[in-house]
Homo-oligomer: 205 residues x 2
DNA sequence: TTGTTACCTGTCCTTCGGTCCAATACTTTT
DNA sequence: AAAAGTATTGGACCGAAGGACAGGTAACAA
């Protein structure tokens, strides 16, 4: 594969794109939706109808997505990354830069428009202060080991994963977990996570 | 320049590093502080005294920093990126992977340990308030019916209960749920509930 | 010593969860 | 009219989850 597909409405930016990648083709959203597959490099403009959705879909198919914007901004950058895009750059980037972006993204890297990168990472780091005020109330009546298991399970791990992490048998995880269920009076891991996150399970039966 | 310098306390991981980069040298924090300059590729272990500070300083000098950890986690990843590192990977990554990281970072790309990438991007997106709540963002790409099922499941209901509530077959619940998993790129209902409640699954394997 | 508790493991079994292979019908888009 | 998306169901399959039952060690208190 390894084709380069440019998804845009108009065709104004095509020259520098095709200069960057001689074999590149311009496509409509419908065309990429139909054609793009694993290994393809898809460059998508953010002025396209539902570009995050399309991005997400193509990423699922194994394509490498790079979002391009005429006015790069932080929110859109994260929308792109959140949708699975591996790059976010200015639409009028120089061919050399585009090739650099391709090189990075094809190697599992992320490429974010430099001016945005610094700004975004900085503000985010500050914003992410305290988050883990887990329910100490519920955890109080558990033994140390049960707490370990409960927290690991509540983080979304499977029994097998918990077992690996705590270096015990999957069977032991089940044993502890059973005790946790009894003590906290929940019926399964779903209820456990709801309890520990302070929410309430709304189960009718 | 373009030297490769590894900063670590011990020397246990040196073999695979020097296998990845034949000319690589292992340094103490004091040595890199004195020697490293523009264009150098510096790989720093996160068990080093004040590694964020050292990272920051070397980045200012124009070096390319990659942080390496034995237990990659989101907070540390942020610390690294915030300090100006361009990469964050597992300390025991295979030589081929290390070379890939080098290729990406030298081209202005970011390289984040894959398991963490989604987590980091997701939490960042929310922290920025790009979408006030993660769940609305996630639910947007679902159909009405899929939303019904996803919410019922996230409330802690079993498939059977959801089926009763929505007056459909358990089989249909599974079908919708499968679609939800695909679209939200989660592997099971545990991850789903974590996603919808705005938390992040910290699953390592 | 005995009793209790935490912790760890095993086997057997049932149910649940998730995915694969379909299929039918309805609506919307092209 | 043709194509695509959505909603619904079926069956088969397999692994995960959880309970029942039955052990084992180690620490600590009565």
């Amino acid at each position: 594969m390894n084709r380069h597909l440019f998804v845009s409405k108009g065709r104004d930016d095509i020259p520098r794109w095709s200069e960057a990648f001689p074999g590149a083709r311009q496509c409509s959203p419908q065309q990429v939706r139909a054609q793009a597959g694993a290994g393809d490099h898809v460059w998508i403009m953010t002025d396209i109808e539902d570009w995050p959705g399309l991005t997400e879909r193509l990423v699922q198919r194994g394509a490498i997505l790079v979002a391009l914007s005429h006015q790069p901004n932080a929110t859109q950058a994260f929308q792109a990354l959140n949708a699975g895009a591996r790059g976010y750059a200015h639409a009028l980037s120089a061919p050399a830069l585009l090739r650099q972006v391709a090189l990075v993204t094809v190697n599992q890297g992320l490429w974010v428009w430099p001016e945005l990168l610094r700004q975004v990472v900085g503000s985010t780091y500050r914003a992410l202060g305290g988050a883990s005020q887990a329910n100490t109330q519920a955890l109080a009546c558990l033994t140390a080991r049960e707490r370990d298991v409960a927290l690991a399970v509540a983080a979304g791990n499977s029994n097998k994963e918990v077992a690996r992490k705590l270096e015990i048998t999957e069977r032991t995880v089940k044993a502890h977990l059973g005790a946790v269920f009894r003590k906290l009076r929940v019926r399964d891991r779903m209820q456990l996570i709801l309890t520990l996150s302070g929410q309430e399970a709304s189960v009718t039966s």
